[in-house]
Amino acid sequence: MSWMHTVFALILLPAIATGMFRILKGPTAADRMMTAQLFGTCGVAILLLLGTGMGTPVLLDIALVFALLAALATMTFVRRTWQYSSKRNHGNPIQ
């Protein structure tokens, strides 16, 4: 239990909060999905640091689940949502 790791997790949290601007104004749909993926990785890092900072090693397992399921949303998006819109209006992705 050390407060230094909690400070590191606290530094990483505004990175998530400011990345939200890209979701709000991203021109293509892939930009928004990429930001969600960055959030996933940031969340894994925050969980790892917080697990040491709060003295609960259980958080490693939660980070493991996050890392396992990180690609699922992006894969679904690319394979289903984005592929479909390319057939309808070519080169003009869903906004």
Partner: protein, 100 residues
């Protein structure tokens, strides 16, 4: 032991700017490919530095193995999905940004 702990802290501090610059790059860069570039740096190197730092500070080998497994999973997931996004963007004729 003290040297290991301090070098672990140093590695974590080294990893934090990658995440912050990844976020800044995601906001500031003009194009989907350049944003992808910023994102992968945060994913691979930033999380790698943090995982290595925490592994140096960890007490047992099981925790170290779990940390490395997390990093490996994130590496696979991020590279696969970033490759998919880039290929799909190329197929949709999104032109890369060039300096005007």
């Amino acid at each position: 032991m003290e040297i290991l702990y301090n070098s672990g802290t140093l590695l974590i501090i080294l990893g934090l700017p990658f995440f912050l610059s990844g976020t800044v790059g995601l906001i500031r860069f003009p194009d989907i490919y350049t944003r992808l570039h910023a994102l992968t740096k945060a994913d691979n190197v930033g999380l790698g530095c943090i995982v290595c730092g925490l592994a140096l500070q960890s007490a047992s080998w099981a925790v170290t193995a779990k940390l490395l497994l997390i990093w490996l999973l994130v590496l696979i997931a991020s590279s696969a999905s970033c490759h998919l996004i880039a290929r799909s963007a190329m197929q949709k004729n999104i032109q890369p940004w060039t300096r005007p």
